[in-house]
């Protein structure tokens, strides 16, 4: 009845979540393309496509938040480096170029083959992508591999910067004690890698099931180890931040303590810390430490379940940071409530649709450039 009392909160939290998945997926692809870890060959190409699909959608939640999304390009046309968002635009564009070039080179052998074998108009996109060069001689492919390694090597710091930057956007808000900590970019980066690896484990197992492929156990075993390692780092950093705040007992603790024990009690303690951290920690510990005794199906189930829970953990971490930070009054006197609306412009439905787009895009990209099958041995 009293419209004026409602506060609208942006679904902007989808933006750090999606950007995190970009960075995480790219780092997994780099395990194969930079460090030449052969066990990750089955998902090296798929991880790249995942990173690209999510990167293309990373800014959509922000555009949905803007009243005038058509003005978004202004920060690219007239960038000012005192603006954190303008800096993000430059980083985003640079990373996009590096990623597109890497995807193009990794898939070039398939592009050339499809351009030559597909009939009529179906070959048109591949002929365009081949840029009129059908050279697949071993020396040329060796040169491609070198360039891919260089691009992926540039891509790692670019991906880290891209997502560290998202953390910086929050960490640099000095008026908000729930955000303002130099740990924020590092926490965002580590949790990005967690979400990226977890997403790839879930997608890889799902796609293998649908395609009827066998799930590569060396690949899954390696991913589970990395996931456990990065999860431990992430949770440690998240807890360190809270413990430091609690121990210092500065004036902001007066408001942060009720924030995490009342307003965010469910999403922080129950979901982020117990369901999303403790349970997957135990599941991954079993998967890693008891690895030699595990049947493939048990390993698949353990890693799949832990990954799903970790995806929820990272999502709730973004929720608690973004929403939690806006629940505090600017004067730190008290807390507001937040009841997400379903049909609002930035409501739950909009968030679900925004999160569905990169998956649809990934499906389309995987149709255009098949990431699985015999071709991956050539890259």
């Amino acid at each position: 009845m009293i419209e004026a009392f409602r506060y609208t909160f942006p679904t902007d939290m989808m933006y750090p979540y999606i950007t995190g998945l970009v960075a995480g997926a790219f780092i997994v692809s780099s395990l194969y393309h930079v460090f030449h870890k052969e066990e990750y060959a089955p998902i090296g190409r798929f991880a790249l496509l995942t990173s690209l699909a999510f990167l293309l959608c990373a800014t959509m939640p922000l555009l949905n938040h803007l009243g005038h999304p058509e003005r978004a390009m202004n920060i690219m046309i007239t960038p000012h480096f005192t603006s954190a968002m303008a800096g993000f635009g430059v980083l985003y564009s640079f990373y996009l170029v590096v990623l597109v070039l890497e995807v193009w080179l990794v898939f070039r052998p398939d592009i050339v083959r499809l351009a030559q074998t597909l009939p009529g108009w179906k070959s048109l996109p591949y002929r365009l992508l081949a840029l009129g060069v059908d050279d697949l001689r071993p020396e040329t492919l060796a040169l491609d591999r070198k360039v891919i390694t260089i691009l992926a090597t540039i891509g790692i710091p670019a991906a880290c910067l891209l997502h560290g930057y998202v953390g910086f956007l929050f960490g640099a808000i000095k008026a908000n004690p729930w955000w303002s900590t130099p740990l924020m970019p590092i926490i965002f980066l580590f949790s990005a890698v967690v979400s990226g690896i977890a997403l790839l484990i879930v997608l890889y197992q799902f796609v293998a099931k649908v395609r009827g492929d066998e799930i590569s156990q060396p690949c899954l075993r390696g991913l589970a180890r990395w996931l456990w390692y990065f999860q431990i780092q992430t949770i440690t950093l998240e807890l360190l931040e809270i413990i430091t705040l609690a121990y210092e007992r500065n004036e902001e603790w007066e408001i942060i303590a009720p924030l995490i024990t009342h307003q965010l009690a469910f999403s922080f303690i129950s979901v982020q810390m117990i369901l999303g951290s403790l349970i997957p920690f135990i599941l991954l510990m079993l998967a890693v430490l008891l690895d030699r005794y595990l049947h493939a199906k048990v390993r698949n189930t353990l890693t799949f379940t832990a990954s799903l829970l970790l995806l929820i953990q990272v999502f709730s971490m973004r929720w608690n940071v973004v929403i939690g930070g806006q629940m505090m009054s600017k004067s730190l006197r008290g807390l507001r409530d937040f009841h997400p609306e379903f049909l609002a412009k930035e409501g739950v439905l909009a968030a679900i649709l925004l999160f569905a787009i990169p998956f649809v895009l990934l499906y389309g990209l995987a149709k255009l450039l098949p990431p699985f099958g015999r071709a991956h041995q050539t890259s």
């Binding site: 009293i2 060069v133 050279d135 009054s329 008290g334």
Partner: protein
């Protein structure tokens, strides 16, 4: 035969895209951008040309001195007239004096006085539904009487409240 033909073409495509960006930038960037700083210079003249519609409280006091004195002595001393009344330009026009639009709804009062933990504890704030129960008005009153707050509170000097139903229209 060279092995990097495709890389050269990709590089050329990238340079082409960069050139296209600068061409588009030159076409769409306003001519006056950067004349005075990192913004569109013409904007200053455009903003200056927008006619002023609001006036300072002193301008209202020129005709409504009695109201201004009541307000200055009361709890709403720091609330500007045009928070509840329309802009001055709608009231005093070139054609003469027009009816001043007024916002009398309880939703306007609630913007400042609805209970909220983020407000200072000493600031007068109510839970609207609870308040209606306390004064015995009933929740239906909100649908039948939008200006229900004025039944007890004088908008220019709202405290202390009067007996329910006194109907304080002007003061």
């Amino acid at each position: 035969m060279k092995h990097h033909r495709h890389l050269v073409r990709a590089g050329a495509a990238l340079i082409g895209a960069a050139l296209l960006f600068f061409v588009v930038r030159a076409l769409v960037m306003p001519k006056s951008f950067g004349r005075f700083g990192h913004f569109r210079g013409d904007n200053i003249a455009e903003q200056a040309a927008i006619p002023a519609v609001h006036g300072a409280p002193e301008a209202c006091a020129e005709c409504h001195m009695e109201v201004a004195e009541t307000k200055v002595a009361g709890k709403h001393a720091s609330v500007p007239c045009q928070d509840c009344h329309g802009p001055l330009a709608l009231h005093i026009t070139e054609a003469g004096k027009e009816q001043m639009p007024m916002h009398r709804s309880f939703t306007l009062c609630a913007r400042c006085h609805q209970q909220l933990a983020a407000r200072p504890a000493a600031f007068p704030q109510i839970d609207l539904m609870e308040h209606l129960d306390v004064v015995g008005a009933g929740h239906d009153a909100l649908t039948t009487n939008e200006a229900i707050c004025f039944d007890c509170h004088r908008p220019h000097s709202p405290s202390p409240a009067l007996a329910p139903g006194t109907k304080t229209k002007s003061r």
